[in-house]
Structure formats: structure tokens, C-alpha cells
Symmetry: C2
Subunit: 425 residues, 2 copies
Amino acid sequence: MSGKDYTEMWKGLGLNLENHAGLLGVLSKTYKDIYLNQKNRPRAMDYFDFVISEVHGLRIEEILNAKKTGRKVVGAFCVYVPEEIVLAADGVCRCGCAGAEVGSDQAEKFIPRNTCALIKAFMGFKLSGLCPYVESTDLIVGETTCDGKKKAYESLNDITGKVYVMEIPHMKTAEDRKLWLSEVKRFRDRMEELSGKKITVEALKKAAGVVNAKRKALQRLSRLRAAAPAPISGLDALLVNQVSFYDDPLRFTEMTNRLCDELEERVARKNGMAEKGAPRILISGSPMAIPNWKLHAIVEGSGAVAVGEESCIGERNHRDLLDESFSSMDEAMDKLASRYLGIDCACFTPNNERFDNIKTLTKSLKADGVIHYALQFCTPYMMEAYRAEKAVAGTPFLRIETDYSMEDFGQLQTRVEAFLEQIKG
Amino acid sequence: MSGKDYTEMWKGLGLNLENHAGLLGVLSKTYKDIYLNQKNRPRAMDYFDFVISEVHGLRIEEILNAKKTGRKVVGAFCVYVPEEIVLAADGVCRCGCAGAEVGSDQAEKFIPRNTCALIKAFMGFKLSGLCPYVESTDLIVGETTCDGKKKAYESLNDITGKVYVMEIPHMKTAEDRKLWLSEVKRFRDRMEELSGKKITVEALKKAAGVVNAKRKALQRLSRLRAAAPAPISGLDALLVNQVSFYDDPLRFTEMTNRLCDELEERVARKNGMAEKGAPRILISGSPMAIPNWKLHAIVEGSGAVAVGEESCIGERNHRDLLDESFSSMDEAMDKLASRYLGIDCACFTPNNERFDNIKTLTKSLKADGVIHYALQFCTPYMMEAYRAEKAVAGTPFLRIETDYSMEDFGQLQTRVEAFLEQIKG
């Protein structure tokens, strides 16, 4: 994909070079077919195209250069990991590979076949030596959001010895908040230990500014998608959200705001990406890691436009800012705990905030229909689909369960097309 | 099954009489085929045969009579619910129906198809009006042990309005213990509110004696199964463990000790249930609720003997006693919290105690092989199967995933037979 030759770098990370070349070849072709074939894209997407072309190249080189200067690299698979703490310890925070069907056979030596595609993927990427992120990571931060991840991290730690787990409680009572606050502090201590650097209030303040600016740029993008016609495809907006988990946060914020400037002009000129009258779809549910673009490709290939992602890669990641008005370490920890415990993940019982948010988004984004997307065996989101449907009663609602394979592509397409017909009446 | 006519009682509970008669008919036939056809059973099993014949009859009548005197009835689906607290509020504590494939179609209107059989069953029994236990219950106590139950309880509460959920943490740190202690106290308060009775230290002490005596009887039964030849079939021992979740605790303890007296005589006379040299199998994993006798029937029908259940319906339920040496309410709550947090459920990360316990049991019960039994989609136990196998490396190990249907009976039989051949070498 990239022009530069990174073979030596990948060799140094211990990647399986032959299979890795194959993987990048498939990614490149898929990206071309799905993304580059779109018409009338915003010009500012050129940056994100470049990021994808360098996702295992330049970004890894940057990370390795950061490591050479003594900075520590933290990998995560969840929006609960407080990025501010990583940055305040001068660390680099980004996600590991988890979005493609890779190394399933090897993963199944450690975890059951009936495991969700995302978990199978992060295990498979590691075991097959195809993820330069996990190989360059000093600490992998897991969490207890679902049974599958909770138990898979035990195996991932057996394999890598680098896994640290944060406990996310099941409820949001005062006692749960105490537990979570202690987890946030424990993570701060672990980051200090890892980096050998004291985390100060000033460093946390600076980090809060950086991460909030990123969230604000993503919020701005979300709001712009409320325009009719939508100024950007759901595929492109999803990509921006996905890239936010990998990219340098300052550069990402700048480039996303640049994109939003262009989208504002488009909105003013009513220059939409979608056809006039195209059904507007809110997609809600399980996260979609790069390169999981399947559902968006089907929805937009069928003449509709995805106007929002009620998802960890989407609203759940950027809806809430961190309150920056802290002036002591205790206050900072307290505000961090509040901000992250506010996330409306399906791991909580009850999780009524999520249903309220789905209702609000459906309205604010003028969605004509909701597609609830769950990875197969993702019990928390599969289970919540029933209540989500009740929450937006009256709005057409389609429940989908799938994985990363392309085998059900045609079948899903048929279901989505029928759903869109229902919307058009 | 029973001689008495309970039609009016079942009608009063709102059961679906026609389907309920069908269910009892199937249960009766299955019990006859699996249990009553066994040879050389301990005479003292006659009590447990009677209990099963009256499981929806006399026991329900007893419970309804208790309700008439003002006692409250608490239903649970997990060994984390502290029975001592229910008894100390003069309540009756027992499990709901969850062991048969009933009402799946109706359950699937609320929960996904890919849900474990136990959860689907408790939803299905309720929705199809076939469980007199849930209908006579004043409070259903759920817990957060797995994603499936955690989220299904939300729907069960929508349907019944009677669900109360205890939060089981994911870890066993000092902070988790604080959270769990507060949950134990919250449950005590809820039981006081429900019963209108103050829970005293004296009442807790008395309840601790009752529940510990039941545990000691079950421990005694477990130890007797270590004898070679085993004095009781795994089917019968499983049944006793299952009945412990439904029966009056005092009577149950008396009858189990009576059974153990007889088994002691059998051990002295080397009068075994199994053929000499029959492979001895430890069964480990997901719980088996009445009438889930499938795996034991296959194992023992193939000439082996099940000598232990490393399971919630088995060791996990009775391994640890409650320390009765408390003299204040705070001490009592503290000891209750410790006793229940000690349970080695797969919901914890890490859960190394369980693997130690599997090793210890394999040795103490002189097991020739371990069959790891997981309900399909029971992620926590499915996931731990891999580490369980490593824990007993060197001992033949078979991993099974199944549900309540009989469709895979022949296939499982073939696998179990091949496994037994491997053991016999």
C-alpha cells in the first residue's frame, strides 16, 4: 500500500512477513473497492486514505521512534482505558488489531469457536504474528466489559506476559464508583511505574486538553452528519472514528477539523454524498474495528446513508468530555472516574442511558431507521437489541448478527434492501 | 407422578395446566428410564425418588402453606445468594426451574437464540407458565455472574417485576470485597423490608447452623464417592445435589445423612454401584439443573462412573462452610461476605483457585479422567476449559459443549465411549 519499504521494521517486530504482505494486499484491495470507488468524497479524506495506506507503516515507525526516546506504548481494546493517564505519563495510546478474520485456527487453541469475531481477531493477530501494534506494545490494557474479553485476556497474558486488566463494575452505584475510582488510581500508579515518570496535575490537564480536543472534533463531525443531505458518507465518517484510535491525537484533531471545515461548506451548498431522499440509517451496537466496514458498505451500497454510529467506535467514544476544571490530583482522578463511568456500555445493568441516547440520536440525526448491529456471540449487545427496539418503537428497526466473514454478505444485503424498501414504504 | 391431585393448586398459580401435565409426563418417563432402571441403588434413594415425584406437588404445597403463615419465598439461580440471610428473615429459599428445554420460542422474543440453555429455560418456564416455583416467589434474586444472566434478568424483571440483582464483582481485591460486603448488607436490608422482620445475630447464627449442616451432609456424600468401588452412582449423587436447591433444608440434611450412613456400610462391604474397574470420571464445569441428567446418563450408560461434580450443583455449592464464630451483625456480614466471595466461579478473573480445586479433586476422588462440561454459549466455563485442561495435564480430558436437547445424545455417546477407551488404554 505504502510507497516505502518497511520490511526491516516488520522483521524486527517478528512479524510473519509473507502472511503480512498477503494481509496488506487484501486490505489494499478492499479499501480500493469500498472506499476509493465512492463518488464525490470530501477532499480532506485524502489524509485518512493516507493513514490507512500507512497503517502498518509510517504510524508504526512513529511509534517505534517514540519508544526510542523512552516513551511507553500502551495498547487497548476498549474506550474505558483513560487515554489522559497514558498521555500524562508521556505514553502513546492506541488500539491493537481486532477487525479482520485472521489466525482463527490458532486462536481456537486458546478460546472457543463460539467467541465473538473481535476477540478471536486480537488473539489471532497476535498468534499469527500479523499485528505490528501488539508487537510494539509495552502494556496491553484489558478490561472486564464482557465475559469473552475478561477470560481471553487471561490467555493473552499467558502468551504475551504484558496484559494489565482494569475492572469495570456491573452497576453504577456509589460503591461501584468507589471501586472504579480505585481502578483509575491503580492504573495511574501502573503507568507511573511503567514510564518511570511521575504523573502531575499539570500533565493531566494538558492531556485532558489534547483528548477533549479530539473528542470535540469527532462531536463536530457527528453533528455535521445531521444535515440533509448528509455531507459525508457513513463509510468515511466510520473511518475517521476508527482512525481516532490509532493516530497521533494532535494531528488527528487538526485533520478532522480540516475535514469538518470542508463539510460545513458542503452543508451550506447542500452538496451531499448521498442521493436525495436516500434513507438515513443510524447504526447501533457492537464496535467496528478497522477494516470492518461490512455493514456500512452494504447499507450505502444499497442506496442508503449511515448517519451515525451509536457504538464504541462512534458516539460512546466521544459523546462526553472530561471536565477539565480540576486543580488537585484527587479532583483529577475523581473527574476521570466520573467521565469514564458515564459511558453507556451494555456491560452495565441496567443500562437505560443507552436507550435514551439511541432515542435522542435517532431524532437529532433524523434517522429513518435503526440497524442494530451485534457481533455474533457478543452477548451484551445481542441482549440489549431487544430493549433498543422497544426504545425507538415506531422507527423501523433491523437486528443483525454477523461476524467478519464475507460469507453472509449477500444474505445481509438482501435483508438490508428489504428493510430499506420498508422504510421507503 | 404423584398420587395426589394438585390441579386446583396449579390453577391458582396460573400454570398452563395442559402443557404442565405434558411436562410432568415427560419428566416421569425420563426419570423412570434414567433413574429407576439403575441396579443396586442405595435404599435411601427412595426419599429422593419421592421428592422428584412431588417436585411440583407436595413441595409447592409446603411453600404455599409457608406463605400463608407470612413467610416470604425467595427464588435464585446461583450459589451466590446467601441462603442464611433468607432463612434469618424466616424466608424460604429455593431455585427456579431452569433445567429443561421449555418455552424456547417464547424466550426468544426477549433474548437471543445464542443464549445458554439454562437462561433460555428460566425465561421459557416463566413465559410458558410451567414453573410453580417462579409463580409462588415473592422475590427473584439474580446476580451478575455472566453477561447472559445479567442482561436476561432485566427482561425477567420487565415480565415479573420481582427481580432483585446482587452485584458479584469480577475480581477479589480488597476493593471488590468492600463492594461485595455492601451487596450482602443491601440484600439483608432488602430481606428485612420484604419480610417485615428484623434480622438478628441470633437468627443468622441459627440459619448458619442449618445451612452448614446441609453443606456438611453434602461434603460427606462427596467424600464417600472417593471409595473404590464408588458406593453410589453419579446420577444419584447429582440428584441429591440438585434436590438440595429445592428441599426443606432440615429434612434434606437428615435424609442425606441417612443416605450417607447406608453408603458407609456399602463402602465397608465394598458394595459398589459401578462394575469393578469402571473408569472414574470427574465432571467439571457448568451447572446441571433438574432434570438435566444427560451427561451423567451417557457416562454411566457407557460403563463408567461419575465420582464428582466440580460444579455449582456440586462442589462449588458446598465446599466451604460459613464461619459461625460471629457475635455481632458486622462480624456476621463480614463472614458471610468472605464465605461467598470464596466461591471459585468462572466469573472471576483470574480464577486460579478453581484450577487448583480441579487438581485436588481429581486426586482425592481418584478420577481416571475429567470431562469438562459447558453449556453452549456459557462463555465463562467454555473459556476456562482450556486452562482446566492444562491444570490436569497428564489426566485424560474431554471437552464437551452441549445444551438440553437430545439431538446430540448419540454423538456425545460416541465421543464419551471413545474417551473411555482412551482411558482404559
